[in-house]
Symmetry: C2
Amino acid sequence: MTAAAHRVVIVGAGFGGLAAARALKGADVAVTVVDRMNHHLFQPLLYQVATALLPPGDIAPAVRDVLRDQHNATVLLGEAVGFDVEARAVEVVLSDGSHRSLGYDTLLVAAGATDSYFGHDEWRAVARPMKTLRDAVELRSRLLAAFENAAAAEDPVERDRWLTIAIVGAGPTGVELAGQVAAMARRTLRRQFRGLLDPTRVRVVLLDAVDSVLPPFPAKLRARTKRTLEKLGVEVRLGEKVSGVDADGVELDPGGRRLPARTVVWSAGVKASPLGEELAKATGAETDRKGRVLVAPDCSVPGRPEVFAIGDMISLGSIPGVAAPAIQEGRYVARVITARLAGTRPPGPFRYHDRGTMATVSPGDAVADVRGLRLSGLIGKLAWALVHLTYLIGWRNRIAVVAEWTWMMATGRRSQRIILEPASEQRITGTHPG
Amino acid sequence: MTAAAHRVVIVGAGFGGLAAARALKGADVAVTVVDRMNHHLFQPLLYQVATALLPPGDIAPAVRDVLRDQHNATVLLGEAVGFDVEARAVEVVLSDGSHRSLGYDTLLVAAGATDSYFGHDEWRAVARPMKTLRDAVELRSRLLAAFENAAAAEDPVERDRWLTIAIVGAGPTGVELAGQVAAMARRTLRRQFRGLLDPTRVRVVLLDAVDSVLPPFPAKLRARTKRTLEKLGVEVRLGEKVSGVDADGVELDPGGRRLPARTVVWSAGVKASPLGEELAKATGAETDRKGRVLVAPDCSVPGRPEVFAIGDMISLGSIPGVAAPAIQEGRYVARVITARLAGTRPPGPFRYHDRGTMATVSPGDAVADVRGLRLSGLIGKLAWALVHLTYLIGWRNRIAVVAEWTWMMATGRRSQRIILEPASEQRITGTHPG
């Protein structure tokens, strides 16, 4: 790296941003990665943190640690808040509260997606999201406390309300979480609430407005997933539109029917990071109704060849909002940058190589659609485990995760059953109206 | 256990309470363990959670999990708030906010100790305690954020303020934390702030009003500990009385000298749980100036043979406030209870079998005083590791902790470097005045 190296600023250390940064290792550029969190989050296993199976550190390596050996990369902990594309600078609020204007020669915005409550942000206080590590740790406390509160409740109606977990949204996150919560209730907690709770009264209710679980999957795998969930004891209620959420439960359309539940999880919708709108405002790009930036075929922002956007915050054909395309886009943009610097012909338009989709359903069952090859059951689960371990960063974390899975399968026990708040404070963080 | 089994209520699932509960396994009693936290905390390794080495779950098994196979034990998550010794009942606020009066035939109060700011509770907001798992997780965020904020700071004075970690209190917690923070700064973070930070500017300052580290240890080991800390780069400042703490640092007596520091840890004092005073009020027992209950030689409360108190909340001779005596007292009280029920002669007065004290200083060095046998260096460290792993509950946790230690020694990396809050919120949780 020379003093006058080409400056690449990457906003976001998710799958896309980190893939781009790593693909630029060895290139004659000075990479700066800015993220508002100090860790890269492996979102596909987030539900296993929420269900007390994995500690947060196993799926969230520090960004500095991931890039520790990449000498042309600098990491800054800070939040990008705006872009000045004329001056070629990103406005960043750093962790100490100071503002900095980061100059770039090439900018890559990979800020991802956030949860969407479809205009009902007031539901968020009750129907908890599942996007960040903090969300997962909070949900873990709420789930564990719900069982404790059920054990404490003397009124059977109140007890059942604590024992009902409603999950809104039957995409991969909702399906995987529902399966794990059911497994946690029936296997891990069974003996441990001896005499205090009847584990068969635990209700895990998976709701979705559309008439299928896992909509992007082939019909046969969808039907199988629904059956597997039901065998685990999950109530799958499809075609149910949520019209309200409060501390007592969920209200369903039509007819204002109520599902009493003290724990509600929101896995129904995502929208692009607000930085999508900021980038559009700064560059004149268009966004779709989910706030995603409409990029050119090479992932650059129209009219701004030095500004790229990738991942869940862009709209580019019918590419799904999962890890694989974000990673491929990150590597692709790195190739475009190095080709330009070398003066060679840049690669053609970005093309997504769809290697398949998969979702896990129960400890011994997953569904996968790999280029038309449909896997399910234990074979599906093994494929799922292999792919997830491959994408997880670092051997330490891979080994730790396999060890936790093995321990859980052998004993049914979960090692991370931590409620950090004392009992006297759980009413504040919980959803209890008292 | 028969329907009319003798009811033993144990308040507190720390070392003492849990030892008593486990020692009553198989006895014809109905044990109820009440704790305000859902987990048993292995406090001796808390500093390793605060320094991002171990995940919380590795040192904090769920109380329900520990007692899962003990059929005569029930666990309740709730906070004991008072005692009615005439009616033989404990008043408990359960996790769901409901109140319950728990009747007992024998009561064992083992509520432990809490931090003491010697009448300066206003310091707590800045000088953070190290007693609970939440304290450790919060301190971890603060320590990690301090380095990030130092990297972000452009003013060198401000940067040095972020790089100064002041630890008040040179007992085992302060000494062990100082050694680990120094190791984290110099080994783990060295390469990772390349160009942003000079790791040699990190200052770990260990302060104490008395003129020695680890006061209960023999003079030779104390001197050695001080030298080892200094070799690690810790500034050991003894005979320094703290007269004030604010967001900018620590004020020292005499003369109002200031130590500028953005991160201050309080490991200076403990006092008995407030339940000590509650128990004294209910029974007429006396307490000492640390709020500890003065118990009879058999750990019962004078005049109330059916009420026992053990551990850090009692005063009984010159027994130190560590894990070993609490465990021995718990087992002893269980023997007294079973002897009374069997109508056999109860054991004589409680006698503490002092098996020694130990403290770790650096990754390869610990000091131990085992019945006059003084160990230090690597031998001391191995003894330290063996004893700590023995007291840690559960094979899963023992194996996980050894694996993390091995990984850290081999690579210098720490897997749990998690700041849950985004950068934009760290000014709120941090000590920055802005």
